[in-house]
Symmetry: C2
Subunit: 245 residues, 2 copies
């Protein structure tokens, strides 16, 4: 999955809110293999038709990949690396490598974005879902410089996209050389949020996200940009300080 | 084909020397349809495996699309629009809308590029092939701002790619709003080379191209950038002036 994500970052995806390239690349690998495995033709046609109809298909795999990468870095003594960010429309929580299973929480943020026809801000739930695991792993809004065309979906301008990636370099532990950004002359994506840097700089992690309707069952009504609440990171630094002693 | 090319320009292709997105997008449309048409499974598997193995697959369709678009503009009285650029490794020729079937020729140029392992400039033919029809139609090197990652294949830097697109706006009749460039805030590609502007500015059309071996049968040994020879355009302007009277 990592080489596939790396390739998609060279093809205008940031693999959170834009997955057009990664969805197509995986489809192109899957279809011949499924035919060679003699999957029944009608069933395969229906499955491929479903897959081909949704450019966000790859997001499910992108999220799982990011979760697996971050879990590998969880539980390291004294580490200030953020290993999860998640939200449920009411609360926003983060988990940090060196502080075990604790979730540091604050109220969920409002999402600033573009709405599908007939919907608007009054219909919107606050920030919701597990997809911010992509930003936690250094893609999504952190790799937005890779995806200038995304602004037609979530708002803003291509220079905003570039600025978001550059700003995130101030709060990450380094750059991920496995995920490079052509428009930044192939520099790596800012990777690995450091709770200390967030508190030092007051720069909140940026998140590209879908906007869900506030009533259950309606689903996505738009997409935009939001920020992780700073209070989560301040709590995590306090706890980490107490742990380090 | 036009919407597909437009989409690929938002996904890091310039549809001459980089066709990774367009190849995948067309594959994703074709595979379910072929299954529903009950193409025999083993044959379809072999065809899709071939298609999926070559990211340049779409170039064949890209060239034909550009040729069809330009032929529609050929034969307009007094028009200074370039409707074809082609080369055969020895000579380079252009055709202009208002000058009928005449080809204005000069010696083919050397290509400056990157070579596949074990090959170098001494093995190279001069500029060769019909693929410069893409630049003639305003994609390829003219849309290089869309494809910063291409520099890993043809040489140069992402800022060179941007500069090439911007320079071409000085020699084109306009911009093609059907083909937009995210990194230039969705400005259209420079479209429609004007022989008069080439002669006025001395800016030669830039071309992304493969490098062929000088001996027949070996095939592609690299890829790079070249320029159309200015002498072709000077001849065309003289002929056009004589025609206009």
């Amino acid at each position: 999955m990592k080489p596939l994500i790396a390739q998609a970052l060279h093809m205008g995806d940031e693999c959170h809110n834009r997955n057009a390239a990664a969805t197509s690349l995986l489809f192109k690998r899957f279809a011949p293999a499924a035919l060679e495995a003699e999957v029944p033709q009608a069933q395969l046609a229906a499955a491929l038709r479903f897959w081909a109809s949704n450019d966000h298909f790859f997001l499910n795999l992108s999220m799982a990949t990011c979760k697996a990468m971050l879990d590998a870095g969880h539980g390291v003594k004294n580490s200030s690396l953020v290993t999860a960010m998640a939200r449920n429309g009411v609360r926003f929580g983060i988990r940090v490598s060196g502080t075990g299973d604790a979730w540091f929480q604050a109220d969920a943020s409002v999402v600033d974005g573009l709405y599908f026809p007939s919907f608007g801000p009054d219909d919107a739930a606050k920030d919701l879902g597990d997809s911010a695991i992509t930003e936690t792993a250094g893609i999504g809004a952190f790799a937005m410089a890779a995806a200038p065309a995304i602004v037609k979906f979530i708002g803003g301008t291509p220079s905003d996209a570039l600025a978001n990636t550059l700003a995130m370099t101030s709060i990450t532990l380094g750059r991920n050389d496995a995920f490079t950004l052509p428009t930044l002359n192939f520099a790596g994506t800012p990777g690995g949020i450091d709770v200390r840097s967030v508190v030092d700089t007051n720069i909140a992690p940026v998140i590209n996200t879908g906007i869900a309707h506030k009533d259950a069952g309606i689903g996505q009504i738009g997409a935009g940009i939001t920020r992780a609440p700073l209070h989560c990171f301040a709590q995590a630094v306090s706890k980490l300080a107490a742990t380090v002693g």
